[in-house]
Amino acid sequence: MQHLGCSHRFCATLCILSSMKQIFALVDCNNFFVSCERVFNPHLEGCPVVVLSNNDGCIIARSNEAKALSIPMGMPLFEANKIIRHHNIHVYSSNYPLYGDMSARVMNALGTFSPHMEIYSIDEAFLGLAGFEHRGLRDYGLNIKNTIKQWTGIPVSIGIAETKTLAKIAGHIAKRSDKANGSFTITDESTKCNVLDKIKIRDIWGIGSRWAQMLNDQGVKTALDFHNLHERWVRKRMGITGTRTLLELRGQPCLNLESHPPDKKTIRVSRSFAKPVTNRQVLRESVAAFAARAAEKMRRNGLVCSTVNVFVMTNQFNPKNYYRGSASHSPPVPSNHTAEITQAAMIAFENVWTPGLQFKSAGVMMLGLVPVERIQGQLFFQPNKLVNERKKRLMVAFDKINSNIGNNTIRIASTGVDNRAKCGVYTLQNYRSPRYTTCWSELPIVQA
């Protein structure tokens, strides 16, 4: 294959990747959270619908009808209330048990269309379609779209092209153009140029807002303008990541399917509170509960962390008194033990607590994650096999009890008894639909 005379580090990878013609499909669920609600509430079809973030804070998903009313993504609920009442918009709290289950169904159904798949997010996946050209790629895309819709009720759009970046752009067209009918293919040069000319620079996958601004200032307005830039110019200003995007737009795959998700880099557990917290004990117990939850997540992923970070925040919408405190503490050795992680979080908490403030949210972050097998011994803390084995067994039992009997059946005392419930800081979910697919007592009702 021809290269544009590239002589840098990733050339070797590039050569291997491009030695065989690749075809990528990006499958994207349309307005996924709204679509999940509609599967079980068909009367919502054609009506404006929005889904709220955790705690009913702001709008995180909109139906096409709601987008047409120009409700912006991320609008706080209290600002949207007027327009919601005026247009009779249906409002839902986020129902993650439902969305997670529907996502698994979509991904399973997609798995029947290609042996090569990368689950990119809860509502997006890439498929490798090399070798399927004889079926007609656009028709194959339509077939995928119709099957997913029939099996799961979720509408999807599909973009197909020779690189992931182009597939993303094809998906953008598939979703918006009536003629595409949900499946769009970019495989020839002339279609590509036509399409790139219509795509704004900030809509290219991998171009963040800072680069979009820089490129705009340089007169680079469309994806086609960017595509035609000199490679050396791009490499100088945007480094290897920008060059990769450039080559991908030119049809040279630089990004392959990642069928195994990379090791998690950080684990974060945070919540905003339904009502501001001023009480030290309540905030401390919340942070302890987040730390315990994060420790559980680490164990599930076979990870330990070297540092625990705790952060607390007051209301961001009130910039005058805005406060964000953050502090870290490291346990003596990297750990995922609930007691050790919680203890480190409690020490860090003492450094962020400020009396007299109204805290709106808090959270913990686990930093320096490494797989359990890679813990390094330290001079004064030789891992004591017997003690370690006991600790491990305690945590296995701990997780087993919580997964069999229910979350929080057994917990560490610093996470509190029922203080938090009394203060009403538990997550608000005023408009949650039933957990139709994961809970026997909440199955959809059919009339007979």
């Binding site: 509430n41 079809e45 698994a104 399973n108 798995g111 798949m117 059919v446 007979a448």
Partner: protein, 139 residues
């Protein structure tokens, strides 16, 4: 590859009839098979299968009572004679799909409920095909 967690079958190793140490082995040991699994019996396409609960008496003639759990496979193409979940006026409804002389009908299985004609009332489509039902007598 992605696995369907919730309906993943539990893998059970058969419990052998005889103990190991002494005596003769049970002649049944050579005939041990896997345990029966209701998921396997009732669900052919896990990704496309949903459970719904019945409310109402219009399908008693088909052996479907109020409170029953129905198993709905959306990957099955609906045919005349199938019991289906249909969307009528934005509501999920269970009826029997029948091709009559003058087009498709959604029929109840109870003398007090008249059939609904599909097409006259345009707000109607098929949500899925009912492939089975589950009823508990003692909980």
């Amino acid at each position: 590859m992605f696995f369907f967690n919730k309906l993943d079958k539990q893998i059970r190793s058969p419990l052998y009839v005889s103990t190991v140490a002494a005596g003769f082995p049970s002649p049944a040991d050579d005939y041990m098979e896997g345990a029966l699994d209701l998921n396997e019996y009732l669900i052919a396409h896990p990704a496309a299968t949903f459970m719904v609960r019945v409310e109402g008496i219009s399908m008693t003639g088909a052996g479907i009572l109020s409170g029953d759990v129905l198993i709905v496979d959306r990957s099955v193409e609906s045919r005349s004679g199938h019991i289906v979940i249909a969307i009528i006026n934005g509501e999920l409804t269970v009826k029997r799909l029948v091709k009559g002389d003058n087009g498709w009908l959604l029929k109840a299985e109870h003398p007090d409920y008249p059939p609904t004609k599909i097409g006259l009332n345009s707000e109607c489509s098929i949500w899925g095909v009912v492939t089975g039902s589950v009823r508990r007598f003692v909980s």
